[in-house]
């Protein structure tokens, strides 16, 4: 074995060892690397028993209700398997709308999520407004697209 071969083997061994270490570490921390939980993960009991956590889902159609004369808004976040009612008082991000992916931070109290922060998650889709209107005039296609984006983007 030449010196060059020795160096090649050493560097490859180093890379293999470090890759394995990083892979195991990421695997061990997997749950902690999630920025938010989905309603299904919440139903599986993966949320912390005490304190704040983040919940992500799609704003369910027909679920948005504003209290007259206040900044309080009620809505339901769903992943089409489970749904969680949310209450939030404050300014919503511009992208907040029905069918949009939303991440809320707060606590679950008696089955209602009291949110202290609302963030909008936008999809990986970009298109001109006209195309979108043409698509949404076909409700079935829109629903399919929603489901598809949900599958590709867990929890969105």
């Amino acid at each position: 074995m030449t010196r060059r071969h020795q160096r090649l083997v050493m560097v490859l061994l180093m890379l293999a060892c470090i890759s394995a270490a990083v892979a195991f570490a990421l695997r061990a921390f997997n749950g902690d690397l999630l920025y938010y939980l989905t309603p299904t993960q919440l139903a599986e009991g993966r949320a912390p028993a005490h304190g704040a956590f983040r919940l992500g889902g799609i704003v369910a159609p027909g679920s948005v209700h504003r209290k007259q004369g206040s900044m309080t808004v009620h809505f339901v976040l769903t992943d089409y398997h489970h749904a969680v009612p949310v209450v939030y008082t404050g300014i919503l991000p511009d992208l907040f709308r029905v069918g949009q992916g939303i991440v809320v931070k707060g606590q679950l109290v008696n089955g209602v999520f009291l949110a202290s922060q609302v963030l909008a998650k936008h999809s990986a889709k970009y298109m001109p407004p006209g195309i979108h209107q043409a698509q949404s005039s076909v409700p079935h296609r829109k629903m399919l697209a929603l489901r598809r984006s949900l599958r590709e983007d867990p929890g969105a």
Binding site: R7, V11, T38, P93, Q117, V118, L119, M127
Partner: protein, 245 residues
């Protein structure tokens, strides 16, 4: 000239110094042209987005920069590998010349992403897997730059930086796949294989800009490598001739 002899000749600093000049010039002009065409297409011709309006246009700077931040780190990692195993002087010079460029692309990606996040997400920054791993990439670049210059002997600095670059290269697939592996606030990739979720009228300027950024980097890295080689080989005959002429 076979491929092997081509690489042998390329590995010689005087030969590289000679041929890098026309190549660098060509890259600069192609890059400039592509970036101008891409910016015109992205900022004027592309329609506003159905949800984000005109705000989505920051994508035309953010996505190419983010893509380059990953690409340049892979270049550094491959050069470090060649340098460590084959002791090729040119490879170390390319790695040293690339690190500040990659750090700059990463900084641009982080800053434009943050400015984009405020109006769309409602926050400048979150500690999700994508943003955090990209920030780690920025610090890895800073580490490579600093380690390279931290030793009196340039060879020691090259080796130390090369080992950090090879170890740090593990962060590149983590940044790329973070949006698939974990639930993040950052959206998933708009590219699925060869298809894209970006409408064609908005997509072509982005692809042109990504190509333009590649050529722009190609130009800068050739130019910086030339200076790096002159600096490193200042006491050799070929460098003396270049400096003297």
């Amino acid at each position: 000239m076979t491929l092997k002899t081509f690489f042998h000749r390329l590995g010689s600093p005087p030969y590289f110094y000679q041929i890098s000049r026309p190549w660098g010039r060509a890259f600069a002009w192609i890059g400039l042209l592509l970036i101008l065409v891409g910016l015109y297409g992205g900022l004027w011709l592309a329609p506003p987005d159905y949800q984000q309006g005109n705000g989505f246009r920051i994508m035309y700077v953010h996505v190419p920069s983010a893509w380059m931040s990953l690409f340049v780190f892979m270049v550094i990692a491959v050069c470090s590998f060649i340098g460590l195993v084959w002791r090729m002087r040119l490879a170390y010079a390319v790695a040293a010349a690339s690190a500040p460029l990659g750090a700059a692309f990463t900084a641009v990606a982080l800053v434009t992403g943050s400015l984009w996040g405020k109006p769309m997400w409602g926050t400048y920054w979150v500690w999700d897997a994508r943003l955090t791993s990209e920030l780690i990439l920025f610090f890895l670049y800073l580490g490579v730059i600093t380690l390279n210059r931290s030793f009196e002997d340039q060879k020691t600095g090259d080796k130390a930086a090369a080992i950090l670059a090879l170890v740090g290269a593990i962060d590149v697939p983590i940044v790329h796949y973070s949006v698939d592996w974990w639930q993040t606030l950052h959206q998933g990739s708009s590219f699925k294989g060869l298809t894209s979720e970006i409408a064609p009228s908005m997509l072509w300027p982005l692809l042109v800009l990504m190509a333009g950024f590649m050529f722009y980097y190609g130009w800068l890295v050739l130019w910086r490598t030339r200076s790096e080689l002159l600096l490193r080989e200042a006491d050799r005959d070929w460098a003396q001739q270049v400096i003297g002429s």
